[in-house]
């Protein structure tokens, strides 16, 4: 205060503590990108180069136990040889060099960048550079062991010819299992979710027991036991496919119940009080005021459950499905046991991703929309 009151002091200029501005932010950024691009291009180009030209089974490949009798042996050998190709090697080491350079330059200079944009460029360049280094090291490590053996079992697509329609059918069955299970689960879950919120312990306890049981035991156990319980216990002979749908619905119901419970509990207390104070019964209040609001909030977590269920349907592999009931995973298992080629599982993973990736994007979009929507609702409350 005293300093401020002294009028004689000249207006001070803030001391410049920034130091000299660092150069080359864009260069660091470009180095990071270049490191990744060089590695990717080197690997992909040499792989394509080998794949698209006629080659023979090299002695190197024979050493890795790839024999000429193997179906698709040359294709597998090409993968191995392309990995050893000078083009790949050069790209990997060049990528490491560029990546280290970006990392060192970026890490040492980003603090001295004179704008946020330049600082971000330096940091991003360093991060990309370190990713390139890790990627190159992983590839070098992979090829230093026995990549031929791995490629022979997991990247040998020759045996998959003729299995296209089987996988399409598998994808359809997987979706039927998951969708039917999810729909049943949502109905069960809504009922259970309301029951576990009851004031009455006698109502709550069985619902809670059900939920804990299905959440607490492995789904694979539920599938097997459910099948035999129906068959031996109740004398009901049902197709394993239908049994699977029932078990998936029962299991998903337990998880959906928790989702609904949390969704209902997330609705402000004032909502049910307002409804009850208008003379509505508890169930009317639930039906008209609470559940419609809760449903909006539980859509993203329920979609998430659906994605999880799509993957969990793979467990039907333990049941005796008939050939036209095979899901993706069972299709792959059958193909693999017929050919001793695990590449079927590689394709299965791709098939699952084709189904799940769009759904995952949809969940994220729904979550984002709900978050922005909630702001509006919160504004209305306060």
């Amino acid at each position: 205060m005293a300093v401020r009151e002294a009028p004689s002091i000249e207006p001070e200029v803030a001391p410049d503590v920034r130091g000299p501005t660092a150069p080359l932010p864009a260069t660091i950024f470009a180095l990071g990108i270049a490191a990744l691009v060089v590695i990717a291009l080197g690997v992909v180009v040499s792989q394509l180069n080998y794949a698209l030209s006629d080659r023979v089974l090299t002695p190197n490949c024979r050493q890795e136990q790839i024999s000429p009798e193997d179906n698709g042996a040359i294709g597998v050998c090409n993968i191995v040889e392309a990995l050893e190709d000078p083009l790949t090697t050069g790209a990997l080491y060049l990528g490491i060099g560029l990546g280290v350079l970006a990392l060192v330059l970026g890490a040492s200079t980003y603090r001295r960048m004179d704008s946020k944009r330049r600082r971000d460029q330096a940091i991003t360049g360093a991060v990309l550079g370190s990713q390139a280094v890790l990627l190159a090291i992983a590839i070098l490590w992979f090829r230093s062991a026995t990549p031929g053996l791995f490629a022979k079992h997991f990247l040998n697509f020759a045996d998959l010819q003729g299995y296209g329609s089987a996988f399409v059918r598998g994808a359809r069955n997987t979706l039927i299992l998951a969708f039917a299970g999810e729909m049943g689960g949502i109905v069960i879950g809504l009922v259970l979710g309301i029951l576990v919120l009851s004031q009455r312990r006698a109502v709550r306890a069985p619902a809670r027991t059900y939920i804990n049981f299905f959440r607490g035991t492995p789904l694979i156990w539920q599938l097997v036991t459910g099948y035999f319980l129906l068959l031996f216990g109740f004398g009901i002979r049902m197709s394993a496919f239908v049994v699977a749908i029932i078990v998936f619905a029962l299991n998903t119901g337990a998880y959906a119940a928790e989702v609904f419970r949390a969704g209902i509990q997330s609705i402000e207390r004032g909502q049910i009080e307002a409804a009850r104070s208008l003379g509505m019964s508890y169930f009317q209040a639930m039906r008209y005021a609470i559940v419609p609001q809760a449903v909006r909030r539980v859509i993203p977590p329920l979609m998430n459950e659906f994605v999880i269920l799509i993957k969990d349907t793979a467990l039907v592999v333990v049941l005796g499905l008939t050939a036209n009931e095979y899901d993706i995973f069972t299709t792959a298992r059958e193909g693999q046991s017929a050919t001793f080629n695990a590449t079927f599982f590689t394709v299965a993973a791709i098939a699952y991703l084709i189904v799940t990736l769009p759904l995952i994007r949809l969940v994220n979009a729904a979550e984002k929309r709900l978050r922005s929507g909630l702001v509006g609702i919160a504004g209305a409350g306060g």
Binding site: E268, G270, Q271, E273, A274, A275, R276, S277, L278, G279, M280, S281, Q284, Y288, A289, P292, Q293, R296, G376, I377, G379, A380, G381, G382
Partner: protein, 256 residues
Amino acid sequence: MTEPAGSAHARGAREPLVRLEDVHKWFGNLHVLKGVDLTMDQRDVVVVVGPSGGGKSTLLRCVSMLEVPTIGRVFFEDRDITDVRANLNEVRTHIGIVFQAYNLFPHMTTLRNVTLALEKVLDLPNDEAHDRAMDQLAKVGMGHKAGAFPGQLSGGQQQRVAIARALAMRPKVMLFDEVTSALDPELVGEVLEVMIRLAVEGMTMMVVTHEMGFAREVGTRMLFLDDGMVGEEGEPKEMFRNPKSDRLRQFLEKVL
């Protein structure tokens, strides 16, 4: 607490609309209401004031049994509604409540907020419910926003819709629980205006409020609730002019 001499028990004149008898409320170990007696007659405007945490809102919520008294009884038109056999859903159709946080249903339009209970609780035909709701919305000056969602309205507008929603049930008594406390200062007036008109029209009201001007000018009776007990009770203007207890005097000094 002694009951004030009044028309309440002048036999045959008229039954009290609401009567609370020695109401206690515990929340766990917290003794919030410590034996409150209260009667409300037709056309009474009972304003409840007092320091926060004194049990004002709890008392109001006991009147419609949103809070169940731990001890004591609540009568509505001489029916004991603390009796487990009482049909609370039916009783509540006669008791309108307006909350501090409005509590409109955010997924419904203004109009649907008002018609919902008319259709589902009073079983009115749709067109009759619609007409009654539009009529009530117009009365609070919200007829032009019938199609809007609560999130699109200001706090004052939402609160007026909430009042219309309660009034459309044609209740015999209206309870207002700090209905202007969440509002920006410039929006308080429009809500108080609606409440004043309601009082003038003869609605029986219980108003928990921090608006001392409203309490003094509109209240026919004032309750000073302090630490879960009725500290003082009487005619508002007289209580403002001449507080008998130290606690009320201190309270008034703080808020005025």
